[in-house]
């Protein structure tokens, strides 16, 4: 059984269709990648899964439980975490407060202290800046904070939404290394990216999203070699 299975999900904003019957499954312990251009509907998918935007159709099943229509805080408490596009840290809260907010969920409260230590170990930069407000951090540090905050919630699945967006190349490498490390520690990951090659290289399964529809699926390596992917992205 897949950890999460997204079945025929549709999302509409007013009259505009953002997602059209998208299906995708992520197996426990793997990295699945969803690639696609701007406006293809990647972010809509993540927000639909996490209950932030309502579904116009389809269903989402997590560990065999239908969570369609659940409010976002209950979905998060089930163990579905996300690192959102643009980081979405709390700029006037300190680094530590940001992290504590990640553990506001009932499932995570008890393990707050040890997890905090673990995250400071993982990202020493955050430990150095724990009293600083998040708004004063650099983009890369904010991304670390966003990942750390997500981990505070003790998720079983992390959805990454364009974690490389707007970051310097060296930082991008670091982010991808972190994702790989988390996966090696057993975390299930759904990675949504424009950074095609890097994502596909990491991913076990991958899918291409175009205009709200899944147009290609396969293994990461398979898609990486697929001319159709190259065509879609470079018109080669």
């Amino acid at each position: 059984m897949s950890l999460i299975s997204i079945e025929e999900v549709s999302v509409r904003y007013g009259d505009a269709q953002a997602l059209d019957r998208v299906s995708l499954a992520v197996e426990e312990g793997e990295i699945a990648a969803l690639i696609g251009a701007n406006g293809a509907g990647k972010t809509s998918l993540i927000r639909a899964v996490s209950g932030i935007v309502p579904l116009a159709g389809g269903r989402v099943v997590f560990r065999g439980q239908d969570i369609t229509g659940w409010p976002s805080h209950r979905i998060a408490d089930l163990g579905i975490g996300q690192v959102a596009e643009g980081r979405q840290v709390f700029p006037t809260l300190t680094v530590e407060e940001n992290l504590r907010m990640g553990a506001f969920l009932p499932r995570a409260r008890a393990k707050l202290a040890p997890t905090l230590e673990r995250i400071y170990g993982l990202f020493p930069r955050l430990a150095e800046r724990r009293r600083q407000t998040a708004g004063t951090l650099s983009g890369g540090e904010q991304q670390m904070l966003a990942i750390g905050r997500c981990l505070m919630g003790q998720p079983d699945l992390i959805m990454f939404d364009e974690p490389s967006l707007g970051l310097a190349p060296t930082v991008v490498q670091e982010v991808f290394r972190t994702i790989r490390r988390l996966n090696e520690d057993g975390m299930t990951i759904l990675l949504v990216e424009q950074n095609v090659a890097q994502s596909l290289r990491l991913a076990g399964h991958a899918a291409v999203l175009e205009q709200g529809r899944v147009t290609l699926t396969g293994t990461g390596a398979g898609l990486l070699a697929d001319d159709r992917v190259r065509q879609a992205y470079l018109g080669l």
Binding site: A84, V89, T92, E97, L105, R149
Partner: protein, 287 residues
């Protein structure tokens, strides 16, 4: 010279209570991003509650403060949950009309219930003054201001050091971020609205020591709260207190040096200047 000391002291004391009242408006706006046009009506409702309790139980309003604050918390929570929530994200003028309707209903409901007469709550110390060196301080004002400072401090501690307070700040800071980490935003919004109203309840209770309760006071108090929070910075908690003191002192001085009837001219003048030169307010953050 001592007369100026008296004036400034009295302005500061009054200003602190103004500040506490404005704090309620500021908390609601800072988190929910809705401008509560029914602010004055809620304050007056609290004043009437204090009057009724004082009349029926014979208790000093300061002692009934927690009760009234709790009652208004419930009112605010329900208001947000049932009326305001669907209007989040709707155009500003629609939110304005909604709260205007609430304020019209409340104002006239109070008029129906209590009539237009001003209601005074008698306390033992209503006519007392405290001598402090050369200064003569109004006892009522000293108590009310002290209570206001204590409450503001409590609020600060709540927001700064409790997880719930931090969570409310997080909602204000980044709504999407709050949803992303799984905060129950709707409940936190209602809590914030309730908290804002609880402050209104507390300040109304203190206000009734200094002012008589009458429905028409509501519009004045709404405008006053707006002036205070805009000057201090809409959404900024320190700003509300600073704005309150600033208005309290400047009104007192303008009234003394020039003419009392021109007092509010200065408040509005100050408001206009702040709107033009520093619309985020003296203590506010630049958007």
């Amino acid at each position: 010279m001592t007369v100026y000391l008296d004036i400034v002291a009295s302005g500061v004391l009054t200003g602190l209570v103004y500040g506490l009242m404005a704090l309620g408006l500021s908390v609601i706006f800072g988190v929910v991003r809705v401008v509560n046009f029914a602010h004055g009506e809620l304050t007056v409702a609290a004043m009437y509650m204090a009057w009724v309790l004082a009349g029926s139980l014979g208790v000093d309003p300061i002692l009934t403060l927690p009760l009234i604050a709790a009652a208004l918390f419930a009112v605010g929570y329900a208001l947000q949950r049932h009326l305001v929530e669907p209007f989040i994200g709707r155009p500003e003028h629609e939110q304005f009309m909604l709260l205007l309707a609430v304020s019209i209903i409340m104002l006239n409901g109070l008029l129906l219930a209590f009539g237009p007469d001003a209601r005074h709550v008698p306390v033992d110390y209503a006519y007392d003054s405290i001598e402090l060196g050369p200064m003569l301080l109004d006892t009522v004002r000293v108590y009310a201001a002290a209570a206001a400072v204590a409450l503001a401090l409590g609020l600060y501690l709540f927001f700064r050091f409790t997880d719930l307070g931090t969570a409310i700040r997080a909602c204000a800071d980044n709504l999407l971020g709050a949803q992303v980490v799984g905060l129950d935003v709707r409940r936190l919004y209602a809590l914030a609205f309730g908290l804002g109203c609880a402050l209104v309840g507390a300040s109304g209770t203190l206000m009734v020591l200094m002012r008589d309760a009458t429905p028409i006071l509501a519009v004045q108090l709404t405008l006053l709260a707006f002036i205070v929070v805009i000057i201090g910075g809409l959404g900024s908690m320190a700003g509300a207190l600073v704005g309150g003191v600033l208005i309290g002192v400047s009104e007192a001085l303008a009234g003394f040096v020039l003419m009392p009837s021109l007092k509010s001219l200065f408040s509005y003048g100050l408001l206009i200047l702040v709107l033009l030169l520093r619309p985020e307010g003296l203590m506010g953050r630049r958007a």
